[in-house]
């Protein structure tokens, strides 16, 4: 693809040689003369000026004299768009591998791809162009929308619903029983886990994550939400739209998380918590059961408190030994 064509595609302003051929995408340091890269911010632009990249996407306000560059509003986003045009998608042949075990009552759109040793149980419905990798197990009565990718060895328990354009990475388990027991007579009695998991459109879920089914109601993941590896989402959790949940975070039962909320890595959220829209929770923070985090808050620490307070307190803690010393001196003076 010629640089000029890329500039046109991205609605960007070209500087340099529009006739160059670009064949791939690379980072600013490893990029070669046939690669497109991007530079966002001052440091990246400095490194870009020494890059061997064939073409560099830069912010509208920047310039890279002597380089072939395309100035765009949002270089990183532009790279995503260019990549879609430049890179061939890994070809997945539609069709069912002969080793796949598909129940007769399953309804698969004709151009669905089912990998080797996949198991599709009774009454499963799968939409157009969805790809299910090797060893995927889809339980009875599951519904999966169009254009989804279930990577190898994903497990979907019965009755889960998955929207369109959902990506699930290997090893993830959706719909296992929630962790609910009633303690009586010296032992734990298993509470029924009858609800479903509902995953809306455009969700991506990382590898080896776990999303439990609801006990009596449903567990819901809103459209556009992105969930990283090894995340745990308990029964009856409701997550809004376009939230971001980083790796190894755990969310306890019946918690409600609003749209556009960002949870850092290894965050722990207690049960029946409410985290309102657009709030941000710092990595490793712990939110006690029943707590409400108000719309647009930023919190950190265990138990979590407002970010500004956390930082102030943390600074005070650091000076604590000095404080104790001062107090001692003062005591000596006062007598």
């Amino acid at each position: 693809m010629k640089v000029a064509a890329i500039a046109l595609l991205l609605d960007g302003k070209l500087a340099g040689d529009g006739e160059k051929e670009i064949a791939g995408i690379a980072g600013v340091e490893s990029a070669g003369p046939a690669d497109l890269t991007f530079a966002d911010g001052e440091r990246a632009l400095n490194r870009a000026s020494a890059s061997a990249a064939g073409c560099i996407l830069i912010p509208a306000s920047a310039a890279l004299p002597g380089k072939t560059a395309i100035a765009v509003k949002h270089p990183k986003l532009a790279l995503i768009r260019a990549a879609e045009a430049l890179l061939a998608k890994p070809r997945v042949e539609a069709g069912r591998h002969t080793s796949a075990l598909i129940a007769e009552t399953a309804q698969l759109a004709s151009d669905v791809a089912v990998g080797p040793n996949a198991v599709i149980e009774e009454r499963v419905k799968v939409g157009e162009r969805t790809v299910m990798g090797a060893g995927v197990v889809v339980g009875r009565d599951v519904e999966i929308g169009a254009d989804c990718i279930l990577h190898p060895r994903v497990t979907i328990y019965p009755r889960v619903r998955i929207g369109a354009r959902v990506i699930v990475h290997s090893g993830t388990v959706i719909g296992a029983d929630g962790f609910g027991y009633v303690f009586a007579d010296g032992r734990h009695h298993k509470f029924p886990q009858l609800g479903r998991v509902i995953i809306e459109d455009d969700v991506e879920i990382g590898a080896n994550a776990t999303i439990d089914r609801g006990s009596l109601g449903d567990t819901i993941i809103g459209a556009g939400t992105k969930i990283d590896n090894l995340v745990q989402i308990a029964h009856n959790v409701h997550i809004g739209r376009h939230a971001v949940i980083a790796a190894q975070t755990g969310i306890s039962g019946s918690t409600v998380i609003g749209d556009y909320v960002v949870l850092g890595g290894q965050v722990g959220v207690g049960d029946r918590v409410r985290i309102e829209t657009q709030s941000v929770v710092g990595a490793q923070a712990g939110i006690p059961s029943g707590k409400i985090i108000r719309r647009g808050s930023a919190v950190w620490g265990t138990p979590a408190r407002p970010m500004a307070e956390f930082k102030k307190t943390h600074a005070a803690i650091k000076s604590l030994p000095r404080l104790a010393q001062k107090l001692k001196e003062l005591q000596a003076k006062v007598g």
Copy 2:
């Protein structure tokens, strides 16, 4: 099932229409006229008074005028019992799927169910009515008791022993090598991991958890203990009976955990720790190596300390900036 029959089954006191037909179980808000639900505590009872549920299980001391209700000693426990009577268990056909690979030397009771693509290695023994889902891998010389459920894609390494009525959710790995090395000559030498994992009766283990085999001795999970998703249990850990271990908690090597202990989510327990019977560890707490938590303690924080102390200290930390200000003023006064 008629309401009157449910009342009889639960040994409860019926108020309202005993002739109603109940077909299912639901939460108090979503329940319809053919559903049974329960209400425990004042708030739940308030919501229940507006519920469309066909019948509501309530505490012996409560009343819901105008509703069909059954008063019982323990409504939530009663719901579990009613559910067992009301709900058909998902039917699993006994028998070996033709794609299952079962070693000739394996001994499976005749009514065991083996799912598609399951792999059962040499000399495995499996008890009556146990169900092994699609893609389960059971290593050589494993013994599994009666009435167990191994959900799809569980992996059991060789020589593990599992009791009766054990449930293991998808993706969980039991018996992988412990993390043991000896550092010498500038590199880590792998220490032998020769022990077993022994899981006693009535244990449930969530999805994508990991329980390592003992290095020289065994790793033991006591009867009735419940373990949530993504929990890590290291080599030679001994867990007592009826303990509860919430999601993403990790327990390091050779630690001993007593009966009825409760560990919150994301707790980290060091190696050679002893947590005595009936202790409770708050979510995200960290217990340093070698520590002893005495019988019936409640601890929180990293490093963990008694809950009361943790809360007091936490309150003091919050007022720390104010304390520093006061000290400054006092200093100015004293001169």
Copy 3:
């Protein structure tokens, strides 16, 4: 194997009966008359003096009168060497199970073992004597060296490279997409994840871990590094040689970790962090994004600070309620 032969093999000094036959390895408490065990340190030596073990490996400086013992420089390391000589390796038959699905373009050395239902995709290369367990999925263009063990149900995404003598435990996913999005127009746009994962020689990775591929560059795990269960390693992370990463630790994108670094369990490392050679990070510590931990440091806490400072601060925090009381008294005095 005779005790005298073991002493010879280990270059140790024998005391007691060299003619005894040793058949196995066991812990000091469970060892019987045909078992070899070891005792390191005073407490272990005390327990060893009551052990029924056939032979005990002890430090050069120690003695166990009345017992058959071999004094060596490093008893635990010596046990590893003895175990290699004493214990038969679990026999894995080379060859491809008839149910394994191996692409015609895959190049497997002739003595490779491929387990039941394994899936080996196009152009995969596998070195001599490597063992791939049941249900392993190896994506197209992956290269795996000699003498590796991939335990059952490991998933390797396309284009990953794995060196020689690498061990990967069940359920681990190598090469899933990194967690990278660009937020624009009210939603998250997926950033290309085009890099590889490169795992060097002699690495061991526990069960259900996740190691993401690089976005534009590569994710690299250095030779000899050991990674425990449920660890998360994000895109573009570079880990040095002979590092040790305990269970449930998470490392965010583009972080660089030096040789011989030790990360405790449940540690959280932010993105673009640099942890220099030989540093130690205490369990559950949290290292904020962009932070540099200097060579040979020991840090703990969230946010992590030098171990000595952490401990001092922690002690000060514990005495905080007392400090507040003192200040109050002083205030009263000063008036």
